[in-house]
Symmetry: C2
């Protein structure tokens, strides 16, 4: 089976890693959100992309979910000693990634070329594609603080401001990364990883030209909301602030225009019937990935479910 997976940060990266453990390398393409990319201290930083790549390479920090394992903080500590910004933590190994990426971007290389080169060096066998080589920064509209750039909302303000909406600056002119349409055409189906619908999956699906192709395929999504809470990040809080119940059934509703199958956690089994009645085939299983084996097991179940659908 050939799969295209759409992924944001930690949850998406974990399922992508599980899929990579279950599929031949040439049968998996992971399309990653770039809406959270930003420039900090002159460094071009791609948090979701790096989380996906580090996770697939086995280099990710298992405790934080972001950043690298065995990380040191010498640069960050000394920047702070000089009075520099302390709100965004950058490990030394991670800074190497950002420095070299920024250098290559300034040389005129495309982000997707850089990701491919880094993946090769890191030993990531599957195809990882940033959804676009154009910046499409997520802007979060908030009740009390107006518009905030994503990392300003997410890290500096610790997701505290009440959100009222989202936009992805420049997305109307953004183009899909070369290779994405070919991967989708060749795929048996698309898996939407358990990532934030608003700020991880929406920016991917909003790049012009992608949604039309996604709608031609069978699509299966895994809920990032379990028992009314997000495993990680502000998804549940965002649902509530947008006036929607934070529940897996509402996640399915977000995707209902193009969703064929939906996987929700056992703690949410009460919603399975409602989802089925809306015409979406549902699977109830344990979706929480705590260990690396959990990733492989969930991905295996997801793929078996997809085999029955695609």
């Amino acid at each position: 089976m050939k799969i295209v997976a759409l992924a944001g940060g930690v949850g998406g990266a974990k399922l992508a890693d599980g899929l990579a453990q279950n599929l031949a390398a040439e049968d998996l393409t992971v399309i990653v959100n770039v809406g959270d990319d930003f420039t900090h201290m002159g460094l071009y930083i791609c948090p979701d992309l790096d989380t996906v790549c580090y996770t697939l390479a086995g280099l990710a920090n298992p405790d934080t979910g972001w950043g690298r394992s065995g990380e040191s903080w010498t640069v960050y500590d000394h920047v702070v000693k000089l009075g520099g910004p302390d709100w965004f933590h950058l490990g030394d190994k991670d800074i190497a990634t950002h420095l070299e990426r920024t250098r290559l971007l300034n040389e005129g290389k495309l982000l997707s070329e850089i990701v491919a080169a880094f993946c090769k060096k890191w030993g990531v066998p599957v195809n990882v594609l940033p959804v676009s080589n154009d910046p499409i920064p997520t802007i979060v509209s908030t009740k009390d603080k107006g518009e905030l750039s994503f990392q300003d909302y997410f890290v500096r303000n610790r997701c505290e401001p009440v959100v009222t909406g989202f936009r992805f600056a420049g997305i109307e002119n953004a183009t899909l990364t070369p290779g994405i349409l070919d991967a989708i055409h060749a795929a048996d189906g698309i898996i939407i990883c358990p990532s934030n619908p608003y700020v991880s999956i929406a920016p991917i699906l909003s790049v012009p030209g992608l949604m039309d192709e996604v709608k031609k395929k069978k699509v299966v999504a895994v809920s990032p909301i379990v028992g009314g809470k997000a495993i990680k990040g502000p998804a549940a809080k965002m649902f509530q602030e947008m006036g929607i119940d934070a529940s897996s059934v509402e996640v399915a509703r977000q995707y209902q225009d193009f969703l064929t199958g939906f996987i929700l956690d056992t703690v949410d089994s009460e919603y399975a019937g409602e989802i089925q009645r809306s015409g979406i085939i549902s699977l109830v299983t344990n979706t929480v990935m705590q260990t690396i084996n959990d990733r492989k097991r969930l991905a295996s179940e997801v793929l078996s479910f997809c085999e029955g659908i695609f």
Copy 2:
């Protein structure tokens, strides 16, 4: 006694440190070369300035002369693993300096303001001034490789190309850092540290407006050439390639238009008479600074010599 010292990298930094140990903080201003400043991986790097500041702060690496003591190389190692440039070594603590300096420059801060702020954080009590806030990059003309940027000549090509001349790009429009003329007016005299005349001292003296003021003062220089060799760096090789004997007497000749006193090493005592006859008062002493005490001792002798002259 109020002193203005002109300094380049390692040798200059050592004597500046010795002077700082012998003078009240308010009586020493160190004017530092910026001709070797360059941008690498998006980082604005000021090797001579940092060597002077790290040395004055007691943070310098005593083995290399450049960079910081107790340094780690995580970022550099991982940049190289990604296929990035390996020709210029950057330690992690040092990268913090460059990242924060670059950030502040991009915010519109002046280099001299940044140096002052960093010196305060590092506990450098004396006044350190980059000669100019304008970039005046040293360009090295070579016999076989044409013009090379300074770090390309110095580090990447390990000073191997035969030099035919030097220029400082944009120097005709560069302005002196605020505070330099006041410091010179207030000074009893100027000390030229044992730095490379061509690529450390010449770029300082070539900033428009400085030479006229220097000529109004008594000037004492310490030879960077000892026994026909430079203690560190390519000074002796450059003298030879420019068709000049690599000797302390030729260093004195480089400065003869404005030099009052000259300090040369005991191994070069044979030249003392010739220098005296050219109208420059000379002092012969041990000028090699291996220990921190050597710096203090030499600076003390230099200052005693200056007291008889200024």
